[in-house]
Amino acid sequence: MTIAPHLKHRTGTLWLAALIHRLSGLALAIFLPLHFLVLALALHRAAQLDAFLRRTDQPLVKLAEALLVFLLTVHLLGGLRVLVIENFDWRDGQKQLATLAATISAIVAFVFLVRVF
């Protein structure tokens, strides 16, 4: 058998939404310590922070930042959808809601990208 043959059958919207939610959370969890380390430079090494911010003023970094905005927004909106499922009466249309969450997140990230370029 090939590795994880079941994965090729995982095509459902909601399964994909759950995967994106998990992967975005993981990515943000990895990003956060780095984010905190950079911000802490402000205390005694403001010049270093400025140098860092200038260094990150390039297209590839801006793209990565837009990706982060997407990850944060999609994790927020996907999480909100789950919070509603878990705390209120059941409502149908979960696939549509999940798709909407991803779409809004993509738009927000795109707007961010356009603004910082």
Binding site: H9, L14, A18, V82, I85, E86, Q94
Partner: protein, 244 residues
């Protein structure tokens, strides 16, 4: 191998946990179900094939297998719907359960988890007491009735990736049943039941993938039942009634 339009190429899992898919050629017929195909192989090609079925009319759930990657009742799956024009079928045993042989799985872990979730009715009265009056339109009874039709076929359990990833997870069917009993006014076992579903591997392990709801042949919604359990257990915990 060349397939004529009136023949199917069917791969069936042979063996136990270790094994392989073997391919058979089966004549295509109108209104054929996947169960018809498996039965044909066992009766006309290889009598050593092991599989399960009983009613063959979509009432018992015994014939559940993995068909082209998805768990389904084979007696209610038309070949035309899943094989397409290529005429290819891949049939294996249900996922997430130990394989006994070929297409038959050991359902014991599924029912063990049913028991662990306290999915059995605990009586609160004796025959000497009055019969309790349960209004069918009470919110609790409506909630219970929406989930009560489960016949333990195991399709949701096989479809659930949280079951696959977390061996402690009680699974959608067991939790769905627990929910029906939580909503049963006559039941006296809720303290133990909430404790059971609030423990590690209980309802909180569910990530709301909704694969259970998507695959349930009776269109039940264990995700909703589990959400109900999450609300109940969280409330009990915050009130100090649960000590995990």
């Amino acid at each position: 191998m060349p397939e004529t339009s009136n023949e199917l190429s069917v791969s069936l899992w042979r063996g136990g946990a270790e094994g392989r898919y073997e391919t058979y050629r089966v004549p295509r017929r109108d209104s054929q179900t996947v169960l018809d195909v498996v039965t044909y192989v066992q009766r006309h090609i290889d009598p050593t094939l092991s599989y399960r079925f009983a009613c063959r009319v979509g009432m018992c759930g015994s014939c559940a297998m993995t068909v082209n990657g998805r768990p389904r009742w084979t007696c209610r799956t038309h070949v035309a719907k899943v094989a397409g024009s290529s005429g290819r079928l891949e049939i294996g045993p249900l996922e997430n359960l130990p394989v006994i042989k070929d297409l038959a799985t050991d359902m014991a872990p599924f029912f063990d988890k049913w028991r662990e979730a306290k999915g059995a009715f605990a009586p609160s009265r004796t025959r000497a007491d009055d019969i309790p009056r349960i209004r069918p339109d009470s919110p609790a009874r409506i909630a219970a009735d929406a989930a009560i039709e489960c016949i333990n076929c195991g399709v949701c359990y096989a479809a659930c990736d949280t079951v696959r990833w977390n061996t402690d997870y009680l699974g959608p069917a067991a939790l769905n049943r627990a929910w029906t009993l939580v909503n049963d006014e006559r039941d006296a076992g809720n303290a133990a039941r909430l404790g059971a579903v609030a423990a590690s591997g209980g309802c909180h392990a569910c990530h709301s993938h909704q694969s259970c709801q998507e695959h349930c042949p009776l269109a039940l919604n264990p995700t909703a039942s589990i959400a109900g359990l999450k609300r109940r257990t969280a409330a009990a915990y915050l009130k100090g009634e649960l000590k995990p």
